[in-house]
Symmetry: C2
Subunit: 192 residues, 2 copies
């Protein structure tokens, strides 16, 4: 499972053999069953987690108790309540496993140490965050400008794999729509 992380890092930066052997000790392996929490709101998010296998979702709960999904995390993705992790404040997000999941986690403190010990990791995370910002910018644009139908169709086009793997009600939540609305949109576009 550690090799998933290594190859993910080596996609972005070059690691020496020394880097590779040092890297591993910063991370702890963790397994989650379906529906198991990685983080609950109110707690401080202690770890940044790399998904080596499985699938999770992060979401906030509104006053009525319904979920608003902020992201899915597949193999090769990182997940946390990022504000809580970086600033060590209370988490507003919950994170749990949609499928059985294997994680490699690093604490806030070790995250800082990692960059000091292996400076190229600054570059790795710089590039990772750079790409992540592009994605978030796009998603913000979708929320700020698109109709329900546009939201769903662009998502379905860009992410056919996710549509397959994740129940529609979760996709609805991710898009800021109700399951009913998504169902009706799917019906409508199936006529074409």
């Amino acid at each position: 499972m550690f090799d998933v992380l290594l190859s993910h890092i080596e996609d972005k930066v070059d690691l020496t053999e020394k880097d590779k052997s040092e890297l591993q000790q910063f991370f702890t392996c963790k397994k989650l069953r379906k529906k198991q929490y990685l983080l609950q709101e109110g707690d401080v998010c202690k770890n940044l987690s790399f998904v080596s296998k499985g699938l999770l979702k992060s979401y906030m709960l509104d006053e009525k108790g319904s979920e608003h999904i902020s992201m899915f995390a597949f193999e090769g993705w990182w997940i946390s309540d990022f504000n809580s992790f970086i600033n060590q404040e209370k988490a507003v997000l919950n994170i749990d496993a949609i499928e059985e999941t294997e994680l490699l986690t690093i604490t806030r403190e070790e995250y800082e140490n990692l960059m000091v010990k292996i400076p190229i990791m600054d570059r790795y995370f710089r590039i990772l965050y750079q790409n992540s910002l592009v994605t978030k910018d796009y998603r913000l644009m979708v929320f700020n400008s698109f109709t329900a139908e546009e939201k769903y169709t662009q998502f379905a086009e860009k992410n056919p794999d996710i549509i397959q793997r994740v129940p529609h009600n979760l996709i609805a939540s991710y898009l800021g729509l109700t399951p009913e609305t998504v169902s009706r949109i799917r019906k409508k576009i199936s006529f074409k």
Copy 2:
């Protein structure tokens, strides 16, 4: 104006005297009048720009020609169509100056060279992007979960300075609301 950038960088990382003297040559100074474009959609975003003075907005236009503001950039902020800048694809955003503005800009190529020549800049941008992600995550949560009134009131609380400086119709656009709705919300909350 260059010292604004320097002090912004030194808030996050330590620079040597050598770093500082080398840094300047990567950047070009640029001035914009009110309403002047920095970028128009369809063009490739050549530069990442640091605002040393003034205020800009970036926005997309919908099919009806109305603006959807994706961000404001004040002194000390960076702005670009980030996807266009990073991937050198066509921009979907327009950027123009709300006030008279002074910028320090760097090209895509020089941005890469900068990191190679001054590796601590990887760390700088890693931290910059890290903070930026926290902000974008929060904004996504607002879009995904909040009502119009909640959007406005949380924005007003967190950004009293922006409310002062930017016309309400632009704030409405930033929040994904109409100016009429914002006006009505303001009226409503003024009763309290």
